[in-house]
């Protein structure tokens, strides 16, 4: 907190009445254990029209802070123990729940991380926005409310607003739902908008549009924004000031430029250093020529090949989740498949694993086509190709000890239990855990540790290929960096090839030797990472690169790639990094 005083924040000179939100020494602790503080005296403020980014890794207390401001701390779980929160001149912590309800949506509003689940599935989206008016503007007529809602839908730039009004949430895409949430949050023109990771679940191109929309509406309505994120790229793009949190404390608060260039604390410095660069690292030299995994014109179609439909002269209704996908992966290399949701990258991974049946083309593992093998014939090939999943919290059976999880595969393939246990212990040590972990259960480990266990589990089968499906996407950047280093280490030691599926271009640029970019089930670009991400040829790859947040910053070097392209205007999105990367 000394840091926040030392930093010359831009509102330090402003009148106190300019401050829309003031959080002072906020202490929140667990309801059952009053000594366990989740927030240990958090202080910051936000000026009118300002965007303050609250940054931190998981467990830093940034979401708890935002819920405290809204008065939405989970009852019976977390409790205020001290400090104050002022919204303009109103102290929030002492308000009655009825008064607090009045303030919600009318003076403070909030949007959330998961637009897919944040809307009531049983109400039309127009009605959900209108409900805010029904509750807070009692005297309005139905006609007035409808006009106002349509106006908001227009402002969040949704197409065909009359139809939108009557849509159900499940009919809309993630980006559209987040626009609905924004419309709902801003319909009463609140003074403060709290945005809790509002773009984390969205594709980069959608993320860019939503960030732009928030910025635009903020300027039009003069709203202050408290923006919670873990993504330094997003911070660089939208923050005026940044408040870094760790373990329930504010580490430092600085204007964004100052923070990115001259972080005051080692923690912020390490956070910035851990951001993977967008500039691709050079591919490793080719040492092996043996192709371990090959896909030949792989195709997966969904939907029935309906004879009845064809008899009636209807069009074929099948959709191709992946078509004409070909690649070759040699021993010890990493091939990245990148793309947005729905691009078919996970479909390809699942076809290669034979978790789903490809509808065309071939998959060769160690030269043998496995795409048409039956269950029994497939079994010896299964162990050659192993998978690491996205969510380490759900990919380990909670009722099995780590040891049992690790030996299950080898024992199925005829290794003796004693032998398998010995190997498993060695593997745990190799992935950086101790042998004691064998007798413990998954819930006793952190996300990063669980992902290490998942890697050990995959390696226990001594595979030739590891398929990593968004394997580091759920992890904090610092943990992410460690897991990626571990993967690379294992790769050099064991010569295993990795098929790395990710939506994160930064990660792809740092770990992949080759990259394949997919869009709508097709490969649009495929080649060495340095070329595909360094000098993309296809328009889609370029648009992906352009949408990557904070791409004009070289975070690890604490400076922008090109000082000229620092402005936050929309066209800065289209220049910037690509040219910067080439120069560097």
């Amino acid at each position: 907190m000394t840091a926040s005083k030392a930093a010359p924040s831009k509102d330090a000179h402003a009148m106190s009445s300019d401050r829309v939100l003031r959080v002072q020494d906020l202490v929140v602790s667990s309801h059952t254990q009053p000594d366990r503080h989740i927030l240990k005296g958090v202080s910051f403020d936000i000026a009118a029209g300002e965007t303050l980014c609250l940054v931190g890794e998981s467990g830093s207390g940034k979401s708890v802070t935002s819920l405290s401001i809204m008065g939405l701390l989970p009852r019976g779980v977390l409790e205020h123990r001290g400090g104050d929160i002022y919204l303009e001149e109103t102290p929030l912590l002492t308000l009655s729940s009825a008064r607090l309800r009045e303030l919600r949506a009318s003076r403070i509003a909030m949007i959330f991380q998961e637009p897919m689940t944040a809307l009531n599935p049983l109400m039309r989206v127009g009605e959900q926005i209108e409900e805010v008016l029904v509750m807070h503007r009692k005297g309005t007529t139905a006609g007035e409310r409808r006009t106002r809602v349509l106006d908001m839908l227009e402002q969040v730039q949704l197409p065909d607003i009359e139809r939108m009004y009557a849509s159900w949430p499940h009919q809309l895409s993630g980006g559209q739902r987040q626009r609905i949430m924004i419309a709902m949050a801003l319909v009463l023109e609140p003074r403060l908008l709290i945005a809790d990771e509002p773009t984390t679940a969205l594709d980069v191109t959608t993320q860019k549009q939503i960030l732009w929309l928030i910025r635009q509406l903020q300027e039009r309505h003069g709203t202050s924004v408290l923006f919670i994120t873990h993504d330094m790229g997003v911070v660089a793009d939208i923050a005026d000031r940044v408040c870094v949190m760790r373990h329930g404390e504010v580490v430092e608060t600085q204007p964004v430029q100052a923070l990115l260039r001259h972080p005051l604390t080692d923690y912020t410095r390490s956070l910035l250093m851990a951001v993977p660069g967008l500039q691709p690292r050079p591919s490793r030299p080719v040492t092996e020529r043996e192709i371990v995994l090959e896909a030949i014109e792989l195709e997966k179609c969904y939907g029935r090949h309906s004879r009845w439909a064809r008899l009636r002269g209807q069009q074929d209704t099948r959709t191709a989740a992946a078509s004409d996908v070909s690649f070759a992966l040699t021993r010890g290399r990493t091939l990245g498949i990148v793309g947005e949701s729905g691009s078919g990258k996970s479909t390809v991974a699942r076809c290669v694993m034979r978790m789903i049946e490809p509808t065309g083309g071939g998959v060769r593992v160690m030269g043998r086509d496995i795409s048409t093998l039956g269950r029994a014939a497939l079994k010896p090939h299964r162990k050659r190709i192993q998978m690491i999943f996205q969510d380490p919290f759900r990919s380990l059976n909670p009722r099995l000890t780590i040891g049992d999880s690790l030996i299950e595969g080898p024992v199925n393939y005829g290794t003796s239990r004693a032998q398998a246990l010995k190997q498993a212990e060695a593997l745990l040590i190799m992935v950086g855990l101790s042998g004691e972990a064998m007798t413990r259960y998954p819930h006793q480990f952190s996300g990063g540790q669980r992902q290490r266990i998942a890697i050990a589990r995959a390696l226990a089968m001594e595979p030739d290929v590891l398929v990593a499906d968004e394997a580091v996407s759920a992890l904090d950047v610092s943990v992410q960096a460690q897991v990626l280093t571990l993967l690379e280490d294992i790769q050099t030691r064991m010569g295993v090839a990795v098929l790395f599926i990710t939506h994160d271009l930064r990660v792809a640029a740092q770990v992949c030797d080759d990259v394949m970019v997919m869009q709508k089930g097709r490969v649009v670009e495929y080649g060495p990472t340095s070329r595909v991400l360094g000098a993309p040829e296809h328009a889609y790859t370029r648009s992906l690169m352009a949408a990557a947040p904070g791409r004009q910053w070289d975070f690890a070097a604490f400076q922008p790639f090109d000082d000229v392209s620092e402005s936050r205007s929309s066209d800065a999105f289209s220049t910037g990094l690509i040219s910067g990367a080439q120069k560097a």
């Binding site: 919600r104 949506a105 959330f112 944040a118 009531n120 049983l122 409900e131 499940h170």
Partner: protein
């Protein structure tokens, strides 16, 4: 929506065909001559021949089946061996008491159980929650007839508020007389359903209250009541509806004990009588009707899901 309804309705047809086949074979596959079973031990050969002729047992199996189904479709379920009355007439007489009692009991259950479940979920972990859950365990575990006789002792004999036994028809004796006589049996019938529905409501509400859109509703400044009833309860509705539906079907077919305790001339009593006197045509008719009730109620549940949830509607 229309396509969904049509599909669901058509899916009920094969089920009914299988049930019909089963009921048909029930008599034909029982050991011995069906005519001998029907006629009983004292029948003369002439009587047997007459019965065989009447049932068409001399014809090939599939002809018999199609003729029987054809008669069913025309509403002819055969004639009771005991009373000589058409089975349809017998069942029609008994249908009203059973159905009116079941509907009344289910209404009572829902009106008591759903608010209890919502309250328990809202005050999750509190004393109220624990009391409600404890009561529901009692509702589950005490046998129906014990509750029935206890209620009779207390409300009818000791306090004298309600009649001990008997039944009045809604159609003939009016609402008041019906309610007066149906309240005790309905209370007895509904205890287990109150326990079941309250539990299901609580569990389903707890799930839903943890959803993101509930947090959104709070963030919009919605009152507790609005959040609970407008946002949460509707979303929690599908599993609750499922229990209500199956419960209702079970109630129609499982009223035997209640009807015996309170001496109500319903389908349950008819079933017991028919089984005891081996009145096969009546048993067949009852099986057909009760399975039909199951199928129809399941269909209604499916269709009401679609009304409740737009995601099902557009599938």
């Amino acid at each position: 929506m229309l396509g969904y309804c049509l599909k669901r309705t058509l899916a009920a047809v094969p089920v009914m065909v299988i049930v019909a086949l089963f009921v048909f074979l029930l008599l034909r596959l029982s050991p011995g001559d069906p005519a001998a079973i029907i006629a009983g031990d004292m029948a003369t050969p002439a009587q047997l021949a007459r019965i065989r002729e009447a049932l068409g047992l001399n014809e090939p199996m599939h002809i018999q089946f199609f003729r029987w189904v054809g008669e069913l479709l025309q509403g002819d379920f055969g004639t009771s061996l005991m009373s000589g009355l058409p089975v349809t007439t017998l069942m029609a007489q008994r249908l009203e008491p059973t159905v009116s009692l079941a509907v009344f009991s289910m209404l009572l259950s829902v009106l008591v159980a759903v608010p209890m479940g919502v309250l328990a979920a809202w005050k999750h972990g509190s004393l109220i929650d624990r009391v409600i859950m404890a009561l529901s365990v009692v509702g589950f575990s005490v046998p129906v007839f014990v509750i029935g006789y206890l209620l009779i002792k207390l409300l009818a004999i000791d306090l004298g508020w309600l009649p001990v036994q008997g039944f009045r028809r809604l159609s003939e004796d009016g609402l008041w007389a019906f309610l007066e006589h149906a309240l005790l049996p309905a209370m007895m019938l509904s205890t287990i359903y109150i326990a079941l529905i309250a539990r299901m409501t609580r569990a389903s509400m707890l799930d839903v209250l943890g959803e993101d859109y509930i947090r959104t509703a709070h963030a919009k400044g919605a009152s507790e009541r609005r959040v609970l009833f407008r946002h949460a309860l509707r979303n929690a509705g599908v599993p609750i509806l499922e229990v209500i539906g199956t419960g209702f079907a079970l109630m129609i077919t499982g009223v035997v004990v209640t009807e015996s305790v309170f001496n109500i001339p319903g389908l349950g009593r008819l079933t017991v009588d028919a089984i005891l006197s081996r009145d096969y045509p009546v048993i067949q008719g009852l099986i057909l009707v009760t399975s039909g009730v199951y199928v129809v109620i399941n269909l209604l549940i499916d269709l009401s899901y679609a009304l409740l949830d737009p995601r099902i509607r557009y599938r």
